[in-house]
Subunit: 213 residues, 4 copies
C-alpha cells in the first residue's frame, strides 16, 4: 500500500548491463504465477505455491508486488498485450497480402503465442472469465481493442468478398477466437504434435469447413 513496487530500480551496473537482481526476481514471480494460474486458476493458487516455485518465501513477494491481485493484473495485461503484439506484427510483416493471408497469419500468431510463447497469454484466456467484475473491468479496454482489431480485419475481408456475405462478423470473431482459445484446455506441448501443425489444421477448418465442395 504505502510501499510502491519499484519497476525501475536504480541501476548500478549500466555499463555491464547486468539486470538488477530485483528485476530478475520480479520476472520469475510473474512467470511462475502465470503458470500456476493457468493450471489451477487464480483463486486455487496460493502465494506460497508461487513463492515455492520461485525459490523464496511468501512474504518476499511483497517486496515486488503490492498484492496477489497486482500480480494477476500484470499477468492479464502482459498476456493480452503479448498476443496482440504478436498478431499485429505477423500481420504487418505480410505487407500487402490478401485478406485471406492476413487472417491466416493472425490465426497462427494467436495460436503460437497462446500455446508456445507465453504462460501469461494462456493464463489470461483461461482465468479471465471467472474473475470478479471488479478485476475484469480494468482489462476490458484492451480486450475490446483486441476484439476490434479482429473485427476490422474480418470486415475488410468480407467487403473484399473473401468472407461469405451472410456471415455476421461478431459471432464469427467469437467463433474463431473461441475455437483457438479452447485449445488451452487440452493442448500439451510435451505430448501433442507441433503448434504449427495445429495452426494449419485450424486455419483450414475455419476457411473451408468440413464439407467437401
Amino acid at each position: 500500500m504505502k510501499r510502491v513496487a519499484k519497476r525501475e530500480p536504480k541501476r548500478k551496473n549500466v555499463a555491464l548491463s547486468v539486470p538488477p537482481k530485483s528485476h530478475v526476481s520480479r520476472d520469475l514471480i510473474l512467470r511462475v504465477a502465470a503458470q500456476l494460474f493457468r493450471q489451477q486458476g487464480y483463486s486455487a493458487t496460493t502465494l506460497r505455491q508461487i513463492a515455492d516455485k520461485a525459490g523464496m518465501k511468501a512474504g518476499s513477494i511483497y517486496y515486488h508486488f503490492d498484492s496477489k491481485t497486482a500480480i494477476l493484473d500484470e499477468i492479464l495485461e502482459l498476456g493480452l498485450q503479448r498476443i496482440f503484439d504478436a498478431v499485429k506484427a505477423s500481420v504487418n510483416d505480410l505487407g500487402k497480402g490478401s485478406h485471406r493471408n492476413k487472417i491466416s497469419a493472425a490465426i497462427k500468431a494467436h495460436l503460437v503465442t497462446l500455446l508456445q510463447e507465453s504462460d501469461y497469454t494462456s493464463a489470461n484466456m483461461r482465468v479471465y472469465g471467472q474473475l470478479p467484475e471488479r478485476i475484469k473491468k480494468r482489462h476490458r479496454p484492451l480486450r475490446r481493442a483486441y476484439g476490434k482489431y479482429w473485427d476490422d480485419m474480418l470486415v475488410d475481408a468480407q467487403r473484399a468478398g473473401e468472407i461469405r456475405p451472410e456471415i455476421l462478423i461478431v459471432p464469427l470473431r467469437r467463433f474463431i477466437l473461441g475455437a483457438m482459445n479452447w485449445t488451452v484446455e487440452w493442448f500439451d506441448a510435451r505430448k501433442n504434435s507441433s503448434v504449427q501443425d495445429l495452426a494449419d489444421r485450424t486455419t483450414l477448418l475455419i476457411f473451408n469447413g468440413i464439407l467437401p465442395h
Copy 2:
C-alpha cells in the same frame, strides 16, 4: 464419509407424488452451486455463498452432502451426463438422417444444453480443466466416452464422404467442441440473441467455413 446421501428416500406420498423435502433441498443446493461454480470457478466459491443462495446455513449443506467436493463431483457427473443424453437423444430422434443432419443435430443439442438447459453442464465445461488431477480422474471415463461418441459419428460421416478426407478426426472433434464450449465464456442468455440462432450460425461455419465457394 459414512453417511450416504440418500437419493431415493422411502416415499410416503406416492399417490400425490410430492417430492420429499430433502430431495428438494438437495436439488436446490446442486443448482445454485452449479451456477456459482460456473460464474466464479470452484475454489472461489464458498459453501457460505452456496448456502446463502439456497436459503440455508453453511452447516446444513452437510446434511445432504459429505463435502464440497461431493457437490462438485455430482455436478460434474450430472452436467456431462445431461449433455451426453441430450445429444444422443436428438441424434436418435432423426432416425435415418444423413450424416450431415446428425452432426447438425448434435451441435444444436450440445449448444442448447450447454447454454440454456443446464448450469450443471456449463459449470462442468468451465471448471473441469482447472481441477486437481485427483478429481479429474473420477470423471475421465465419461468424458472419454462422450469424445468417442463424437469421434464415431465423425468417422462415419467421413467414410460416407460427407467430411473431407484429409481432415483428421480427433483434432476436428476438439475444434468443434472447443468452438462450442467457449461460448460459455461470453454468452449471456439475457443479452444475446437466441441460442437457436447461435447454433445455426455455428453449424454453418463448421460445415462451410468462411470462404465463398
Copy 3:
C-alpha cells in the same frame, strides 16, 4: 430444557410387567454411551456415535435425555453408586469377619465391578478427572462418601492393629484405589486372565508388599 426427561413413563402394561419401550431405549443409550465414554473420553464421543451404536438417530436421544451432559451425569452417578453398593454388599456379607477379610472383600468387589460388571463404573473412573469443575462438583459428595467409607474401614483396621501404625490413612486409600483404578487403562477382558486372579494378586501386593519377610 423445557421438556423434562421422563424417568417414569406411565406404564400401560403393569400386569404383564413388560418394560416400556422408552425404558429400554433409555438404558441402551446409557450403556453404549458409557462404553464410548470409557474408550474415547467424554468430549471425543459424539451424540451421533452414541445414537449409531444404539440404533437410532441423534435427535432421538433428546426424547430420553435433556443433553449430553445429562447422560454423563447419570453415568457418573450410576457408576459410582454401583461400585459403592457392590463394595458395601460384599463387606456386609462377611458378617463378622476380620478387618483383613473386609478389606480383601472390598478390593475384590471394587475390581470386579470396575472391570467386569459395569461400563458405567469404568467410564466414571476414567473420565471424571478431566471434566470441568462445573460437572465434577455435582458428583463430589458421593465421591467423598465412597472415600470416607474406605477411610473408616482402614482406620478400624489400623486401630485393631491389622495395619501398621505409621501408615497414613488418606494416602493409603489413594494408593489402593489408584492401583485398582489404573487397571482400566490396560485390562482387556478378552485377552487377560480372569478378574478374580487379578484381584487376588492385587490383594496380596497390598497386604504384603514385594519384599520377602
Copy 4:
C-alpha cells in the same frame, strides 16, 4: 505437511546463546498445550485455548506445528522420554546399589518427574489411554521399551531374592506404575505435601505392604 518444523535454526548469536524467537514460541506452545491436555484431555482442548495461554492467535500455531495432532505427538514423545531418562539416570547414579535401592530410586524418579518436573509427562499418562488407535500406535514402541526397562529391573531383583518368588513380574510392574500414575488424578502441587514425601510413602507401601510383620 510439507513444512518441516525446524528445531535447529541457524543461530546468529552463538556467543550470547540467545535462543531464537521461533524456538521460544514453539516451546511455549508445547508447554501450555501439555498443561491443558493434562487438565482437560486432548479433545476437550481447543487450539484457541492453547493460543490464548501462549499469548498468540490460533492461526499462528500453524507456523510452528502442522496440526493439533503434531503437538500431541511431540508432547507424548517428550513426556515419556523425559520420565524414562530421569528414571534411568537416577538408577545409574546409584552405581552398585542393592536391587531394593534401584527400585526405590526408580519409583522416586518416576513420581517426581510425573508430578513436579514435567507437564509433558503427566499429560502423557493421563491422555494416552483414550486416544484413537492411530495415534497410540506411533508411541507404542517407546512405551514398550519403558515397560521392559522396569520388567528387567524387577526380574533381576526377584532373581536376587529381593522380591518374593511367587509374584509375577508383569502384573507387578502394572501395579507399581498404576499406583504411581493414578496420583496425577488427585495430586495438586499447591495443596499437597511434598512429592518427596509421597514418594517415600509409596515406596514403603510397595515394599512392605500394609500388614504388620
